[in-house]
Symmetry: C2
């Protein structure tokens, strides 16, 4: 069923039917009701493509998910983020178009989305430091919003980020308050902006307590279980091992836990762990008392809000780009406790 058929069916012109359906005023209430009823009865929906062609809008948002060619790793937070963003799009009649793409093809993808007029805007995932995508998108004039920030990109752009720095600063301070002095950081890849900021927060806290930054206590890598395990195991075997560990993701924290327990040590007594928790639906951090003490911030909520920001930009171009900085909650769970006494 298309507009033409529907309007013939009603004995009206396409113009009138279109206007009735899109809420224009120059249609009588009676006619509008009749049209709406018929549309429902015939399950009529305007073709997105035709509508897009006629209006010049794509009614779609692109999500370009970077995948480093080497590791072929898809960020696990992505599912939940997308779920949040999708909610917002659905409410506003937008579609979500996904491209998963190797780093070196990204430029081509963005240019393609632009020149094919496939989307009205894009969400930038996983920003790195000095991320080249941001100037590229600005040059292309394709509206965008960034999940995270890109240190080094000067011109203003729209973003939503967790305050990673303050979250990790607070978490580290919390460990100091419990008497820990040897605190390790198992971080994500530090080309990623969020990892960079977390490290900065961690170092801030160390400096505030006059503790030297010790490279032996810092690891950086892709946040897998195995990475958390190996890093922890290695550090625990060294002399002057850490009594507390900051992990950048729940998944690597699970690995850290495995290494700790494998050494016959007890979490929360011999070794404390704090992790960042993105509140992923399939990786919930415990029941009444969370398993891990964690800095928590829902990535799904982030998706919802960032989608709103982008739709705003598209609806009112030319405004100052909006930015949201979410504060993570520090949730005390069972994985932290006072530093063990020196024997």
């Amino acid at each position: 069923m298309n507009l033409k058929e529907l309007s013939q069916n009603l004995g009206l012109s396409q113009t009138t039917v279109s206007r009735a359906l899109n809420g224009y005023p120059e249609v009588s209430a009676a006619t509008r009701a009749r049209v709406e009823e018929a549309a429902k009865a015939f399950n009529y929906r305007p073709s997105t493509r035709a509508k897009g062609l006629a209006t010049g809008k794509a009614l779609a948002i692109g999500h370009v998910i970077p995948m480093s060619t080497k590791h072929e790793m898809v960020n696990p937070i992505f599912g939940d983020f997308i779920a949040g963003a999708g909610e917002t799009y659905a409410r506003h009649g937008y579609e979500m178009i996904l491209s998963i793409v190797a780093d070196e093809d990204e430029h081509q993808i963005y240019r393609g989305l632009k020149s094919r007029r496939a989307v009205d805007g894009v969400i930038v995932h996983g920003p790195r430091m000095n991320d080249p995508r941001i100037p590229l998108l600005q040059e292309l004039g394709l509206p965008f919003a960034v999940h995270g920030r890109a240190t080094g990109c000067e011109t203003p752009y729209a973003w939503l980020d967790v305050n990673n720095r303050s979250a990790f600063e607070r978490a580290t301070r919390f460990l100091f308050d419990l008497g820990h002095r040897r605190i390790a950081l198992i971080n994500g890849l530090e080309v990623m902006d969020f990892a960079h900021r977390r490290r900065a927060g961690y170092e801030d806290a160390l400096r505030a307590h006059n503790v030297a930054v010790d490279p032996a206590l810092m690891r950086s890598g892709e946040m897998t279980e195995v990475f958390g395990y190996q890093s922890t195991r290695d550090m625990l075997q060294e002399t002057n091992a850490p009594t507390a560990i900051l992990a950048s993701s729940l998944i690597s924290a699970l690995g850290a836990r495995r290494a700790v327990e494998e050494q016959g040590l007890t979490i929360g007594r011999d070794v404390s762990i704090i992790t960042h928790d993105d509140a992923l639906s399939y990786l919930q951090n415990g029941g009444d008392v969370p398993i891990f003490t964690a800095t928590r911030s829902s990535v799904r909520e982030a998706g919802r809000q960032l989608a709103h920001i982008l739709l705003d930009i598209i609806a009112n171009p030319g405004g100052t780009p909006k930015a949201i900085l979410l504060e993570a909650e520090l949730m005390v769970g069972g994985s932290t406790g006072p530093a063990p006494r020196k024997d």
Copy 2:
């Protein structure tokens, strides 16, 4: 830059330029070369919308991800599956459109995709038993392919599935061979077809060894870490506790491991664990020797292949729907060993 401008620029008609770009024969080699060069120089790409309108194809595939409203859980395998499918689409000039949708809205979504002519076909994720989506899609005449199968749906349809039944049958048998008799199953939600089949495989093996199916040894729920932990903890506390556990996902296996170690037991000695491993990029099962003995099958590869099946259907409608049954590998890792001797 659009076709009109490009063709004016070249002093050719739109027809000729279009034909040159789309590989039609009635264009001289010289002209074609000239056109292609200009298209590259101006970074011209035909508008997907206009092309879609003109050809009647959407050049897009829909992925409708169900999300049970209650649990709001996004299946974690979804990211890797999508990455695989996306590769295939990119190679064939298709876009991927994503809708994440609560169970009760699914019907509306499919009808919408159809009547808005937004996609040429859809991938059905997470089929349940007697899944109503399959007859619905058949009725709508929207091409589709299913990731998994739906027991109870009689009319033929295209699908790709892991042989869950034989995988779990073999895994269970493997445990019997090691001397285990009390084998527990920590399964996914058994409305899900895959979970149903895994259970059937497990029960097959029990029967083949004349061991009664014991409901006390079977759990079914959403495959989170916490679910794996709680199920294992509870079962280990009972008299006549299991000496081996079959887990339906690596994530719940991690929870099972936690429970086992919390009891002061050793994995692979006191309690053996076998899990299904979807080979997710961020959850790799160990290094040289896998941590967990596992039935393994790459969900990313599944995405690649299923996308192909669907594109085939779209290109050649009316053929017999293709189906692929992948066999999982049984990879021996460090989490299994002979059953402990009775004291």
